[in-house]
């Protein structure tokens, strides 16, 4: 038996090394090469050296605008996020299910489609020239859209805080602290880390949002860092070094925020995880609370879903001469559906492998935590730009091929999927595979009978999540799509920038339908019982049979 131990160890080590190599190739190498460009111009592709244009005024304005918008948006979003999280965690309210679903849909809906919905709305004759239109086509409009997109993240962060305060810790304050102002102060202090975490998360999301910057931002000529990077990479003469310099700003700002977030999380965790948190019964909303909550939910549904989807639908139904959608436009949907299916499958496989290995090794888990947090600090556009340089040379001539686009999609979505799968994999008991081994199940049989049936749902939902995001993905698609085969996001943005809203709305709605069909199919597969496996050579124990 002992002679197999080194072989097993070698196999495990080589597996871990391969995974790390893939991550190194997808992340570390391209990012280093791109971000070091201002210091080492030789790392850039030939032709880009020495063409740097002096646009420091514009860059400085973009940095200031981005900072200002991010701070204002985070400040606006956090109170709303805390209130919605309070409703979800601390009150039994009939609207909670709708609220949770709305937040989820707002999270999934691409930001540029939300922007387009509002652009369509404010293009209508009744609103043209109004104060509302004026406000929308200026910084407040961008803040509104960014706040809508940041809200789900903020609510997620704030729920953790309310969950802790809503339980016995809050009860203890209600029983023991006689002065109402001291009680409120104490609860406020307990909420502060949550508010801080929510603020940072929204700040980073706003910094990195390309969809709104590329639609409304571009339309009102408000330069934001992320769009300025894109312009450096797509406007002649192309200036990779300037793009890298701007990317440094973005990465540094986001990195600082992520470090702050990490600090808050560490402090917060050490402070709150002190014992078990017992489930508690949430009290019903008072009448005034219920009225306020209903109004707030109605506003959220209207702004987050009603306006964008309603406007898209109304625009799509406008009568136009000719075909409902030109074939060329529709092809982009087919392209994206194919890219998204493959990339989501690859990303979920990579993420599952990494998450499973992370569950076994503390060092890898820490490395993965760092990588996923690092991914938070690196927007997709920067990674896409890094790929343009890293894989556009003699030894890796991948630029302009579907392969590089797929790699970009996988790299931008795998870290998120690792986080998504970690809890599900963490719930699998460590002895599950050991029990299978002891009872003579081979690795493929263990996968088929133990792991896949248990992980089918998280894997399918993870695939759905990645599919729906990649289908509408914009920044990586913009930089890496193969010539003549634009993905959906690129086609939608082109239609938006040429103000062809009717076609854009129709294409977007077709995309949403494809997304819903894929989710429906996955839901069907997730609920369908797997077919019984053929009998194994060694009969498993009753416990194992029960599990499988």
């Amino acid at each position: 038996m002992t002679i197999f131990v080194p072989a097993l160890r070698l196999r495990r080590q080589s597996g871990a090394s391969l995974l790390l190599l893939v991550f190194g190739l997808l992340f570390v190498y391209p990012l280093l090469r791109f971000l070091l460009l201002p210091l080492v111009p030789a790392l850039g592709p030939l032709g880009s050296i020495g063409v740097a244009t002096q646009q420091s005024g514009l860059s400085a304005r973009a940095i200031l605008d981005t900072l200002q918008l991010s701070l204002v948006t985070a400040a606006v979003t956090v109170p709303a996020g805390i209130l919605f999280a309070f409703l979800l965690e601390c009150r039994a309210w009939s609207g909670n299910r709708l609220l949770a679903m709305t937040l989820w849909l707002v999270f999934v809906l691409p930001s540029y489609l939300v922007a387009t919905g509002f652009q369509i709305l404010f293009g209508w004759a009744a609103l043209r020239g109004s104060l509302l239109q004026h406000l929308f086509f200026s910084a407040p409009g961008i803040v509104l859209l960014l706040a809508l997109k940041g809200l789900p993240f903020c609510v997620l962060a704030a729920r953790t805080g309310w969950r802790a305060i809503g339980g016995e810790i809050g009860d203890a304050a209600r029983v023991h602290i006689t002065d109402a102002w001291r009680r409120r102060l104490l609860l406020l202090r307990l909420l502060l880390p949550t508010a801080g975490a929510g603020f940072v998360i929204v700040f980073v999301e706003v910094l990195q949002d390309f969809g709104i910057a590329a639609t409304l931002g571009a339309q009102i000529h408000l330069p934001l860092i992320i769009y300025a990077i894109y312009e450096q990479l797509t406007t002649m003469p192309i200036d990779f070094a300037a793009a890298a310099r701007l990317s440094w700003w973005l990465v540094l700002l986001a990195g600082l925020a992520v470090a702050l977030h990490l600090g808050i999380v560490v402090r917060y965790t050490s402070a709150l995880i002190h014992g078990r948190q017992r489930e508690f019964l949430r009290p019903l909303c008072h009448r005034a609370e219920a009225v306020a909550a209903t109004i707030a939910l109605a506003v959220l549904v209207a702004l987050g879903l009603g306006v964008p989807l309603g406007a898209l639908l109304a625009e799509a139904l406008q009568p136009t001469p000719g075909a409902f959608l030109p074939l060329g436009t529709l092809t982009s949907l087919g392209n994206s559906a194919a890219y998204a299916s493959v990339a989501a499958a690859l990303a979920i496989l990579l993420a599952a492998g990494l998450a499973a290995r992370a569950g076994r090794s503390g060092r890898l888990r820490h490395a993965l935590d760092l990588i996923t947090l690092g991914n938070m600090a690196v927007p997709g556009l920067v990674l896409g730009a890094a790929y343009v340089i890293a894989f556009n040379n003699a030894w890796a001539p991948l630029y302009g091929t579907p392969l590089l686009l797929l790699a970009g999609y996988v790299a931008t979505h795998a870290p998120m999927l690792v986080r998504f799968l970690q809890p599900a994999l963490g719930q699998l008991h460590i002895n599950l595979a050991d029990a299978g081994r002891v009872h003579g199940l081979s690795f493929p049989r263990r996968l088929q009978r133990l792991h896949i049936p248990l992980l089918r749902r998280p894997l399918l939902w993870g695939w759905c999540l990645a599919f729906s995001q990649i289908l509408f993905e914009l920044p990586v698609s913009e930089l890496l799509y193969p010539a003549g085969r634009p993905p959906l996001g690129v086609a939608l943005l082109q239609l938006d920038q040429s103000l062809n809203y009717v076609e854009e709305a129709r294409l977007a709605l077709c995309g949403i339908l494809v997304c819903l069909a894929a989710i429906g199919l996955a839901a069907l597969l997730a609920t369908d019982d797997p077919s019984p496996a053929p009998p194994s050579p060694a009969p498993p124990s009753p416990a194992l049979q029960e599990r499988s």
Binding site: I169, A172, R174, V175, I177, T178, A271, R276
Partner: protein, 355 residues
């Protein structure tokens, strides 16, 4: 003086009635243990006493003053009820030190707040940990801080919500002793919620047993042990059973037929036609099978040594479960088992399944 009084208290969550006409009172300085299984409503009673839940119907009074009565719409919030509460999961405020946690429970204008808090921590033998945050303490230490916080304002009523359930057995035992001593020393009345029968024997002056939202027995620990009111009370107070029995009469004696054998026992005048019988191992007497007399013919299945005493497990024809007696016998031994009639607890049978 009656410190806490619950009169016909009912509590409903949506469609579920969790408390049914609860009547309970707690005298000054008394230690009442509220015991019951999961979902029996014991924590809800405690929370209504604290004001953390409002009753659906009935009345809660503290020191003869109504603090919750839906009929008159009177409700006194928890902070104004002047009581201390110890939580199952400690519920210490994580951003405050132990000292600040305890001091926070004293009103803002209290003279020498920090000194009083420190004294309380010293009394709980954790004075040296005063400046630490709760996250840096063990479970037992955190619960000591929780108790100090509950007692620092010198309340006359202390509510304890399963305070030992998150602790190791050794620490649990020590804390039981400490809490009992503190309650006696300060004259504080205590209402403790638990699902552990040990808390009854170690702490209680009186016990209220809660089953499915109803108090089924309210008694001192001795009378609860001597006359358990329900099968549930009999079981958790250490009786074995659920043996199917039918009322019978032989030679002018009332009793029950257990298996095929008649055992004399006093029966209530309106006795149910089907019964379940419970008795304690220490009341089962075995006699050699060869001797004449009444009793259940039994064969020894196995014998174990458990915490200082031998327990013999007997198989009796017609009974599915084994009968346990406190003695040492050799496996295979045959005997006649007898149980004094007044030591057999009989209850109307629910369902028809064997024990």
């Amino acid at each position: 003086m009656t410190l806490l009084r619950l009169e016909n208290v009912r509590k409903r969550y949506d469609q579920t009635q969790v408390l049914h006409d609860i009547g309970l009172q707690l005298e000054a300085g008394e230690f009442l243990v509220l015991i019951g299984g999961s979902g029996s409503g014991k924590t809800t009673i405690l929370r209504t006493a604290a004001g953390l839940e409002r009753v659906t119907a009935g009345r809660v009074s503290l020191r003869e003053y109504t603090v919750d009565d839906p009929q008159t719409a009177r409700f006194v919030p928890p902070a104004q009820r002047r009581l201390g509460m110890v939580f199952q999961d400690y519920a210490l405020w994580p951003h405050l030190s132990c000292l600040e946690n305890v001091a926070a429970a004293l009103p803002a204008r209290t003279q020498g707040r920090l000194n009083r808090a420190q004294e309380m921590l010293e009394r709980m033998q954790i004075g040296a940990l005063a400046q630490r945050r709760p996250a840096r303490l063990s479970g037992g230490q955190q619960q000591r801080v929780g108790i100090a916080r509950a007692l620092v304002a010198q309340p006359d009523l202390l509510l304890l919500d399963e305070p030992f359930s998150s602790l190791d057995p050794e620490i649990r035992e020590q804390l039981r002793i400490d809490i009992r001593a503190l309650a006696r020393e300060t004259g504080t009345a205590s209402l403790l919620v638990s699902h552990d029968p040990t808390d009854i024997w170690r702490l209680a002056d009186r016990v209220a047993v809660l089953e499915a939202g109803r108090i089924t027995q309210l008694a001192t620990p001795e009378s609860l042990f001597d006359r358990p009111a329900t099968p549930h009370v009999a079981r958790f107070s250490g009786a074995q059973g659920g043996f199917p029995a039918v009322p019978a009469q032989e030679n002018g004696l009332t009793g029950v037929r257990l298996g095929a054998v008649f055992l004399p026992a006093p029966l209530a005048p309106s006795c149910a036609p089907e019964l379940t019988a419970y008795f304690r191992p220490q009341d089962v007497v075995s006699q050699p099978a060869c001797t004449a007399g009444p009793g259940l013919p039994a064969t020894l299945e196995h014998c174990v040594f458990e915490a200082g005493a031998w327990l013999a497990y007997w198989r009796v024809a017609g009974l599915t479960a084994l009968i346990c007696s406190r003695e040492r016998q050799k496996p295979g031994a045959a005997a006649r088992l007898t149980i004094p009639g007044d030591k057999i607890f009989l209850y109307p049978r629910e369902g028809s399944g064997p024990p």
